[in-house]
């Protein structure tokens, strides 16, 4: 998802009776559905995994501004322009809430930025794909936000208090994003021939990357098992992916668009749609930095940060001067 490849401690989940009393008490609180707050005792692995996961999520929101922001100046009507701007603004807000949640774990936003800019920290692979026609803005809302919501709704119940509260706020705000995307898709799919073509083209390009958003199959992953025990991951990647496919296929049918996978069909026995797995080699290449837009995205973020240094320092200098002046009075 927005945090696709989060490594936890690398240990298999231990049974309660094998834990030290402190850790056992911690795990029992989680099992009982209690929230863990920043100052509570927590295993180092829990803290580290959370920092990684929350910051990956935050970075994804921030980088995620770029592919959509790309179309703000080209939006076809004043209303679409305003909607898109408000939506991208929300992404910035969500990034901000998440950075703040990560900061409660003792890491600063600047440190997290450094990790992003140096390539040490990852963000969702989806944002390394380009937005090439206006229907892409529809497809991003419909598919990308649709996939994101699937992960974020359960995360409102995550065990870490600040993360859970951030997710509650995010989910509340995010609810219009998917709808505005589908609304664009309807206008396009039911519009002129050219618009239909744009809509199908957008679906063709965003279908596979959207499936990849859930991350590779994690059936046997020890990272996932530990994260699930800690309730910082609440469903397996495959569960969510299947849910996404089941939800999306009828929506595509309604639009009269074709999912670019011949194997998509209803499986009566399983009660789910069958589908082809995306190309995981491509996924790993994108994660490694070889996606179509990795370089542009990172260059844009680094440039914004570096070009803005004088602004941040200038305001700080003014605040310090004012402080000193006040103290002298």
């Amino acid at each position: 998802m927005y945090a696709q490849m989060v490594k936890s401690t690398g240990h298999a989940v231990r049974a309660l009776e094998d834990m030290e009393p402190q850790e056992r008490a911690f795990q029992e609180r989680i099992n009982a559905g209690e929230k863990i707050e920043p100052k509570d005792w927590m295993p180092e692995g829990y803290r580290k995994t959370l920092v990684r996961q929350i910051s990956q999520h935050a970075h994804s929101e921030i980088v995620g501004q770029l592919p959509e922001g790309n179309w703000i100046t080209r939006a076809p009507t004043l209303e679409r322009k305003a909607i898109l701007l408000a939506k991208v603004q929300d992404e910035a807000g969500h990034g901000l809430y998440l950075y703040c949640a990560a900061e409660t774990l003792g890491v600063s936003r600047d440190e997290l930025y450094e990790q992003l800019h140096s390539g040490k920290a990852k963000y969702s692979s989806i944002f390394n794909y380009p937005t090439l026609n206006w229907a892409d803005i529809g497809a991003v809302g419909w598919l990308v936000d649709g996939a994101a919501i699937m992960n974020q709704v359960p995360l409102q119940r995550t065990s870490f208090g600040p993360y859970s509260r951030a997710m509650i706020r995010i989910c509340k705000e995010e609810s219009f994003h998917q709808r505005q995307g589908y609304d664009i898709m309807m206008k396009m799919a039911f519009g002129s021939e050219a618009q239909k073509r744009m809509a199908q083209d957008a679906l063709n390009r965003f279908w596979w990357p959207s499936l990849m958003m859930f991350g590779p199959s994690d059936k046997d992953s020890i990272h996932s098992a530990q994260s699930m025990a800690w309730k910082i991951k609440l469903n397996t990647n495959d569960e969510l992916r299947q849910k996404f496919v089941d939800q999306t296929v009828p929506q595509a049918e309604y639009l009269g668009l074709t999912i670019p996978d011949e194997n998509v069909k209803w499986n009566e026995e399983r009660g789910h749609y069958d589908y082809t797995d995306p190309d995981w080699n491509e996924f790993f290449e994108v994660i490694k930095g070889n996606g179509p837009c990795n370089k542009e995205r990172m260059d844009a973020r680094v440039k914004a940060w570096e070009d803005g240094a004088w602004f941040r320092e200038g305001l700080m200098a003014h605040a310090e001067k004012a402080n000193t002046a006040e103290a002298a009075e």
């Binding site: 206006w134 519009g191 004088w310 602004f311």
Partner: protein, 255 residues
């Protein structure tokens, strides 16, 4: 004076108001995702959203008044540069963040004064829009003046950049206060003020901020002009090429 002449003058005036906010909103929105700090990204988006909203009001009324069935979108997306009536100031490229803030400040000062006058307009529709928009612009000015003061009186680097921004933008200030023939008609009808009448007030409003920001106000000097009657810089053509692309490439579509 016939109603028709007055109507035409008002149409021109409304296009000036709407084109200013449209083009400035466009420029401000270019920062989306590229601002120096997340909090600023969010604040700028709010400002840009206000400006787009104001555009819908001004151009909406312009289209209605014209009576040729043109909507705000038609006016925004289907006119060429020579029919745009915005100030040259708002179409200038963003430059660094300081220049963007300085441009905003210079414009906000003017905008807050003209809107104050428009809240007393004899035209009810104009008055109604002004009353709504005035609140937004009051906040914009509060924000932009605050940041200009802080950065002007920040550190050496931020001061240098703000002074440079002011120097570069100063020749575009004069255009705000030039009276066009339409302005005289509208002023006589108590619909809108003469821009020249706002100049002294603008100085009174802005000077204290410049002083606080420790910025030197350049001498009067030469003023670039032409935007208000459609002679623009080269920049506007590129803005429109980008903004109008979809409407031009796929005419008559529903979006």
């Amino acid at each position: 004076m016939s109603d028709d002449t007055l109507n035409k003058a008002l149409f021109e005036f409304l296009c000036r108001m709407g084109d200013n906010t449209l083009v400035l909103g466009h420029r401000v929105s270019e920062w989306c995702g590229h601002a120096p700090v997340l909090e600023e990204d969010i604040a700028l988006a709010n400002m840009s959203l206000d400006l787009i909203g104001q555009t819908q009001l001004w151009l909406g009324l312009a289209g209605e008044l014209e009576g040729a069935g043109r909507s705000a979108d038609d006016l925004a997306y289907l006119r060429d540069a020579f029919d745009f009536r915005n100030l040259l100031l708002v179409e200038l490229p963003n430059g660094d963040f300081g220049k963007t803030l300085m441009r905003q400040f210079l414009f906000d000062g003017f905008q807050s004064l003209i809107l104050t006058e428009l809240t007393r307009s004899s035209n009810e529709r104009v008055k109604e829009i002004a009353l709504k928009v005035k609140k937004e612009v009051t906040y914009h000015l509060e924000r932009s003046s605050d940041l200009v003061v802080r950065l002007g009186d920040g550190n050496e680097e931020s001061h240098r950049r703000m002074q440079q921004a002011l120097n570069e933008l100063w020749p575009y200030v004069g255009e705000m206060f030039i009276d066009e023939p339409e302005d005289k008609l509208l002023s006589e009808a108590a619909i809108a003020p003469l821009p020249s009448s706002l100049k002294a007030r603008w100085e009174t409003l802005m000077r204290p901020y410049f002083a606080q920001a420790k910025l030197n106000v350049p001498d009067e000097g030469y003023a670039h002009k032409g935007g208000k009657h459609g002679t623009h810089s080269e920049h506007l053509g590129f803005i429109l090429a980008e903004m109008q692309f979809l409407q031009r490439a796929y005419p008559g579509s529903t979006w």
